[in-house]
Amino acid sequence: MTDVDVRSTTPATDAAGGPPARGIRSGGSARSSRRGGSLARRRLAAVGWGVLGVLLLVALWEGYKLVAPADGVLIGETRVLPRPTDLAMPHVWDMIGRLGEPVTRSPSAQALWLVILLAALTTLGIAAAGWLVGVVVGIGLALVMQRWRLAEWGLLPWIVLSQTVPLIAFAPIVKSWGSRVEIGSFEWQDWMSVALIASYLAFFPIAIGALKGLQSPDRIHEELMQTYAAGYWATLAKLRFPAAVPYLLPALRLGAANAVIGAVVAEVSTGLQGGIGRLLIQFAGQASGDPAKAWAPIFGAIVLGLVAAGSVALLGAILKNYRRTEEAA
């Protein structure tokens, strides 16, 4: 967990929510007189609380296992709290301890954590490719929609609708069609199908966020460019893209998280070898005899998502001059 500030890591799920309110200096209460403290100390405190939060969750898990009835808590027929069995809820130390052991008894077996790490890297690479495609497609769509309102009206509802399609219904088709693509020496690889599916999830927040961002310049700025007789491209370069940065960053971060999710789903769906998704089904299949093992790829997937979203957050640090209107948190 690279950064525990919800506002900066958790994708503001509403990409379009975009940058927070302009930093309006009103009254005195925008600034706090009580919370002095250096920035570093506040960061540290936030990390401390975050760690405490995780520890609390661990305590809750183990505490629940201690006190809960074997069949969980049922209201009527419905189980509202889980069964505390080791099968359903392995001990935290078992889950962690399992990571250090080899995957199987096979003499050639690597440690579980290493296997997860390698798989996570594979998936990260695929997700990154999907993310890049999503960025290109998303920003491309946003440009088209920003340029022509008719395009916005015609496309936007479908873009929204596209995300209600259960993607896994598509996975085999994508794989099948992809396998027929062969252009010159370029031959479609199965991982590309997975990346393509990842891009399907990634492009959406990026398209929406980029559109909002490109549309975000104040009228006064647009008119200013008009008075300078600046053309479309000049306005794009000098005004729209810079102004879009505060919207694009959360969108890109959300896109990165989505790309990882999409890549994992597509790996599960198509059975692509080498990634976290594959380990997920593989180890889920072994969960009866080895319940702790099944959690390892879950943790891997979470760390992977956080790393992906976090890397994009780094981009935000580089572009900090373009985020001056954002409220300092």
């Binding site: 967990m1 525990v4 500030d5 919800v6 506002r7 890591t9 958790t10 994708p11 799920t13 509403d14 929510g17 975009g18 309110a21 309006i24 009103s26 009254g27 209460s29 925008a30 405190a45 936030a46 975050g50 939060g53 995780v54 969750l57 969980g72 189980r79 889980p82 069964r83 359903a88 022509w148 008719l150 009206w153 496309l155 936007l156 509802p157 479908w158 929204v160 609708l161 995300q163 209600t164 399609v165 259960p166 219904a169 085999p172 927040p205 929406i208 998280a257 989505n258 999710i261 994992v264 789903v265 998704g277 969960a287 319940p291 790829p297 879950i298 997937a301 992977l304 998502g305 956080l306």
Partner: protein, 284 residues
């Protein structure tokens, strides 16, 4: 730039344009399958899907009801949890910071990873696992948006409440909640289609059969693609229904005003970006 349209023309185009795009895509699709002769096997034509919709209507309706109920329950529970926890996080910074890593994790965890585990925890013989997944999926955007909403109260309003010596309860009721309302609704709207898709995908990973997800997979497994697509269409329709209902709710509530930019000074706070379409995290 773009020519000026009368408001009437704009409204019309806003409706006609997407329909035209949709009709065009369907037309091309049908053309590819029936005229160009792309195999009808993997990609059934719109016409044959429609046929299947008619043929399997009863089963589609009952499957939609099952999945829809799961999604609805998940959405409601996720909403309640999201708002409650956001209220706590807005009130106590410690809660906010403590929940941060967990929320961040929930935002990136794929449903495919959680589904089998939740089935194990809550039992594969009930719909609870799917509802829990829908709840988790909707919780995240609702929590994030609500928390943001709770932080939108303007200093003027907060000081006013303090000047009135209003109790915390009164502040919540008369200021914080109404201010956050558009944000909460945005969160719910984003969560709505997420809840549907999550409940549906969760069906791929165990539990009672009969929902859209299991029927899509069963149909596809026996190569009954037209039937699978008929269920896919139903699930799109269900997601759209959820989306439109929550969008309608949002519009309805927004009709009663929110904070407007102050024309004279230009420093007013616009309450939200709710009018336009906003994004969704989709997790499968």
């Amino acid at each position: 730039m773009s020519a000026h349209l009368t408001p009437r023309a704009e409204t019309t185009l806003r409706i006609v344009a997407p329909l035209a795009v949709g009709a065009f895509v369907l037309g091309v699709w049908q053309f590819l399958v029936s005229v160009v002769g792309i195999s009808d096997y993997l990609l059934p034509s719109p016409a044959s899907i429609l046929e299947e919709i008619v043929a399997s209507w009863d089963s589609i309706v009952s499957a939609t009801l099952i999945t829809g109920t799961n999604a609805l329950i998940g959405l409601v529970v996720g909403t309640l949890l999201g708002i409650t926890l956001a209220a706590l996080a807005a009130r106590w910074r410690a809660v906010d910071q403590m929940s941060a890593p967990v929320i961040a994790s929930l935002a990136v965890v794929p449903i495919v990873a959680l589904a089998p585990v939740l089935n194990s925890m809550f039992g594969a013989d009930s719909q609870f696992g799917r509802q829990a997944i829908a709840a988790i999926a909707s919780f995240v955007p609702i929590f994030i948006n609500t928390l943001r909403g709770f932080r939108q109260t303007t200093p003027v309003h907060r000081e006013l409440m303090r000047a009135y010596a209003a109790t915390p309860g009164q502040v919540l009721r008369t200021l914080t909640l109404p201010t956050a309302r558009p944000f909460i609704l945005t969160g719910i709207r984003i969560a709505s289609s997420l809840a549907v898709i999550s409940a549906l995908v969760a069906e791929y990973f165990g539990g009672p059969r009969g929902g859209l997800g299991s029927l899509i997979s069963t149909s596809a497994a026996s190569s009954a693609y037209a039937r699978a697509w008929a269920y896919v269409v139903a699930s799109i329709a269900l997601g759209l229904l959820f989306y439109l209902v929550t969008l309608g709710l949002e519009r309805l509530v927004l009709r009663t005003r929110t904070i407007q930019p102050d024309r004279t000074t230009g420093t007013g706070t616009t309450s939200t970006s709710t009018r336009s379409t906003t994004s969704t995290t989709v997790s499968h």
